[in-house]
C-alpha cells in the first residue's frame, strides 16, 4: 500500500468502513465545529509554529532514539532501539496530543476542558496543559483505575484538575468515556472534550493521530542519522492505539518496515479474559465509532481484563481496524505475565522503568528478537514511564510498599 492511495479519513470521517460519527444529535454541532477549526488551522503556519514551540519547550521534544545495548545482548538477536516517549514532560506520549488540542480549544473559545483517563497519563497530560493555559479542567476516571493509579490521581489534583470518580458499569476507561460524553452533552457550549486516544467520533481519531505522528516523523529522521536506514520492525502497544498510530502513520507507505501493534492479552487471548478486540473481537459501534469491539452476541460490551489500566478498553481506534483488515499492520497480543516479565527486564538491564502498557510492546520484542538476525533493527515505542505502576506491580506480586 502506498501513501498516495492512503488518504484516510475520507470526507465522512471513515477509514474504509470504520470510524464515522455515531453520537447523539446534540454533539454533532460540537464535532462539526472541531472539524472546521482543525481543517482551518492544521496547515496554518502560525498554528504549526505554536505547536512546535510547545513541543520543544514544554514537552521537551525531540525524544531520543536509544539503543538498548545490554537487553539486545541478553536476547542475542536483533538490535532493539527505544523511542523514548517516557522522557516527555508528564512521562508519556499523551502530552503530544494535549498540547495541540488545548490550542484548538482556545481557538474555539472554550473555557472548560474535560477528559477521560485510564492509566491517568492522559489525565495528567490534560491537567498540565489546562493549568498552563488557565482553563478549568475535569478528569473522569473509573473507580477501579483510581485505585490502581493513585499517584497519577494526586498528580492531577496538584495540577488543579478535579478528578471525578466514575462508578458506573465496569468502573474503568470505557465508563470514564461514557461519563465524559454525558458531561460534554450537558456543557457543550463552553467545554472542549480532549479525547486521549485515536478513538471516538470523527474528527478525534484523525486529530489525535496527527498530533502524535511527531513520534514517527522524528523516528524517520533519527533512523537515517543514527541507523543509516529505516528499522525493519516497529512495535507499539495498542489500547485505543494513539502511541501506535503516532509512530506507524509516517511509515505506512514504507513497505520495508513491518508495523506491529501489541494488544493486552490479559490471562491469554484463548482465555477470553483480555482486552484485545483486534485479536479476538467483532465489528460494532461504541463511543461514536465503528470499529472492532469486545462484545457478546447481543451487542453488549464485555468487561475487559488487563494488568494495565491504559490498555483496559474494549474498543480500538477505527484506523487500526482498517489497518488490521488491510494487512498493513500486524496485531499481536502479550499477556499480563509477559508484560510484567518485560517490565522487570528493561528496568534491570537498561535502568529504564517502562509503563505497564509499554511493557506489552517490549514483551513482543523479547519474543521475536532472539530468532532474528543480529543485523535486524527493531524500534519499540517506549510510550511511557512506569513510576505510576510501582504500587500496582507490587500488589500483583504480593508485596506491599
Amino acid at each position: 500500500m502506498s501513501k498516495e492511495n492512503y488518504n484516510f479519513p475520507d470526507k465522512d470521517g471513515r477509514y474504509g468502513d470504520f470510524g464515522g460519527k455515531y453520537v447523539s444529535e446534540t454533539l454533532i454541532s460540537a464535532l462539526d465545529q472541531l472539524e472546521d477549526t482543525y481543517d482551518k488551522v492544521k496547515n496554518d503556519k502560525s498554528f504549526i509554529a505554536e505547536v512546535k514551540n510547545d513541543l520543544e519547550t514544554f514537552v521537551g521534544r525531540p525524544s531520543p532514539l536509544y539503543f538498548a545495548q545490554r537487553w539486545t545482548k541478553n536476547l542475542g538477536g536483533a538490535k532493539i532501539y527505544l523511542k523514548r516517549e517516557d522522557l516527555n514532560h508528564t512521562g508519556a506520549h499523551k502530552i503530544n496530543n494535549t498540547v495541540g488540542q488545548v490550542l484548538l480549544a482556545k481557538k474555539m473559545g472554550k473555557k472548560r476542558i474535560i477528559a477521560e483517563t485510564g492509566a491517568g497519563q492522559h489525565g495528567v497530560a490534560t491537567a498540565a496543559v489546562a493549568a498552563r493555559h488557565g482553563l478549568e479542567c475535569i478528569i473522569f476516571m473509573g473507580e477501579e483505575d483510581i485505585e490502581r493509579q493513585s499517584p497519577n490521581v494526586y498528580r492531577m489534583k496538584l495540577l488543579g484538575a478535579e478528578v471525578c470518580a466514575v462508578d458506573s458499569g465496569t468502573k474503568t476507561l470505557k465508563d470514564a468515556m461514557n461519563e465524559a460524553m454525558r458531561d460534554w452533552v450537558t456543557n457543550v457550549d463552553d467545554t472542549h472534550y480532549i479525547i486521549g486516544s485515536v478513538a471516538g467520533p470523527h474528527p478525534y481519531p484523525q486529530i489525535v493521530r496527527d498530533f502524535n505522528s511527531i513520534v514517527g516523523v522524528e523516528l524517520k529522521g533519527q533512523s537515517r542519522e543514527v541507523l543509516g536506514r529505516y528499522p525493519d520492525k516497529i512495535i507499539a502497544c495498542v489500547g485505543g492505539g494513539s502511541n501506535a498510530m503516532g509512530i506507524f502513520y509516517p511509515f505506512l507507505k514504507d513497505n520495508s518496515v513491518d508495523l506491529i501493534g501489541v494488544e493486552a492479552g490479559g490471562s491469554g487471548v484463548e482465555s477470553g479474559k483480555h482486552a484485545a478486540p483486534l485479536s479476538d473481537g467483532s465489528v460494532g459501534v461504541l463511543h461514536g465509532m465503528k470499529t472492532y469491539l469486545m462484545q457478546d452476541e447481543g451487542g453488549q460490551i464485555l468487561s475487559t481484563h488487563s494488568v494495565s489500566a491504559g490498555l483496559d478498553y474494549p474498543g480500538v481506534g477505527p484506523e487500526h481496524s482498517y489497518l488490521r483488515d488491510s494487512g498493513r499492520v500486524i496485531y499481536e497480543a502479550a499477556t499480563d505475565d509477559e508484560a510484567l516479565d518485560s517490565f522487570h527486564d528493561l528496568t534491570k538491564t537498561e535502568g529504564i522503568m517502562p509503563a505497564l502498557e509499554t511493557a506489552h510492546a517490549l514483551a513482543f520484542a523479547k519474543k521475536i528478537a532472539p530468532s532474528l538476525d543480529k543485523e535486524e533493527i527493531i524500534v519499540v515505542n517506549l510510550s511511557g514511564r512506569g513510576d505510576k505502576d510501582m504500587a500496582n506491580v507490587a500488589k500483583v506480586e504480593g508485596l506491599s510498599l
Binding site: 453520537v23 447523539s24 444529535e25 446534540t26 454533532i28 470505557k174 457550549d189 451487542g299 460490551i301
Partner: protein, 266 residues
C-alpha cells in the same frame, strides 16, 4: 397509513396531544416490563417507546442508566424484546411500539434486523447514536419494511441541519428539550417553545418533546407548543422502587402517574 400516522391523525381530530411513555424492556424483569406496557396502554398512553438496554448507555442520566443495568442483569436480548412486543401488538395492533436504543444492539442482528422488526410488528426505531449523517443506508432498509426512523433534533441542531433531517423523516420528530442527558432538570423557556414552533412550521410531521419532563405541569406546558410529550425517567424511577413481585402495586402507582400526566396535557 401506519399505526403512528393513524394515532396522530386521530389525536388531531380530537384536538388532543400525545402521551408517549418510555420504559425499559426487562426492567425489573421481562414479564413485569410487559405488564407495565400493557398497563400503560390500558391507561390510555398513545405511543409506547420500549428501551432496549445497552451496557454503555451514553445519553442517559442516572435513572435510566440504572434501569439498563437492572434489565441487563436479567440477560435481556433484542430477540426477547421483539417477542415481547409482538405479543403486545397482537392484542393492541393500533398502539404504535417504537424501540429506543443504541446502534450496537441493533447491529447485533445484522441484515436480519429489518425483516425481524417487520415480522414482530415494530412501528418505529429511535437510535440515540445514529445521527442523520450516518443514517442513509439504514434508513433505506427500514423504510423498505415500512418502519419509521424517528429522528432527534436538539437545541444545538443548526437550522440548516434541521431542514436536512426533516427532508428524510417519517413518523414523528423527537425534540430533545435540553442540552444534557435524559432526566436532567428541564427549565421551560420561551426559547424552547419558539424552537419547537419553528420546527413545526417547517414540517407536516408531528413534533414531540422529551427529556426532563417529570411532572404534569411541565408536561402540560410542553404540550402547548408541540404534538405530544415523552415521559421516561419519571416512570423508570418509579419502577425502580419495586421488585418484580410487586407488579400490582407498582402498576397502580404508574396508572395514577399516567392519569395525572394525561389530565395535564388533555
Amino acid at each position: 397509513m401506519n399505526a403512528i400516522h393513524k394515532v396522530f391523525d386521530s389525536l388531531k381530530k380530537n384536538n388532543r396531544k400525545a402521551l408517549i411513555t418510555y420504559s425499559i424492556a426487562g426492567d425489573p424483569d421481562l414479564d413485569s416490563s410487559e405488564k407495565i406496557i400493557r398497563n400503560f396502554i390500558h391507561s390510555g398512553v398513545d405511543i409506547i417507546e420500549v428501551g432496549v438496554p445497552f451496557s454503555d448507555p451514553m445519553a442517559e442520566g442516572p435513572s435510566i442508566q440504572l434501569g439498563h443495568e437492572r434489565a441487563l442483569k436479567n440477560n435481556i436480548s433484542l430477540k426477547d424484546i421483539l417477542e415481547m412486543c409482538f405479543k403486545i401488538k397482537k392484542d393492541h395492533p393500533n398502539v404504535p411500539i417504537v424501540l429506543m436504543g443504541y446502534m450496537n444492539n441493533f447491529l447485533s442482528l445484522n441484515e436480519n434486523l429489518f425483516s425481524e422488526l417487520k415480522k414482530h410488528k415494530i412501528d418505529g426505531l429511535i437510535i440515540v447514536d445514529l445521527p442523520y449523517v450516518e443514517s442513509t443506508e439504514f434508513l433505506k432498509k427500514l423504510n423498505k419494511e415500512g418502519i419509521d426512523l424517528i429522528r432527534l433534533i436538539s437545541p444545538t441542531t443548526t437550522n440548516e441541519r434541521v431542514s436536512k433531517i426533516l427532508s428524510s423523516s417519517s413518523g414523528y420528530l423527537y425534540y430533545i428539550s435540553l442540552k444534557g442527558v435524559t432526566g436532567s432538570e428541564l427549565k421551560v423557556s420561551d426559547e424552547l417553545e419558539k424552537r419547537v414552533l419553528s420546527i413545526k412550521e417547517q414540517t407536516d410531521l408531528p413534533v414531540v418533546v422529551g427529556f426532563g419532563i417529570k411532572d404534569a405541569i411541565t408536561a402540560k406546558k410542553m404540550s402547548f407548543c408541540s404534538d405530544g410529550v415523552v415521559v421516561g425517567s419519571l416512570l423508570v424511577d418509579e419502577i425502580s422502587k419495586f421488585s418484580s413481585k410487586e407488579d400490582n402495586i407498582m402498576n397502580k402507582k404508574l396508572t395514577s402517574i399516567i392519569d395525572e400526566l394525561k389530565e395535564g396535557i388533555a
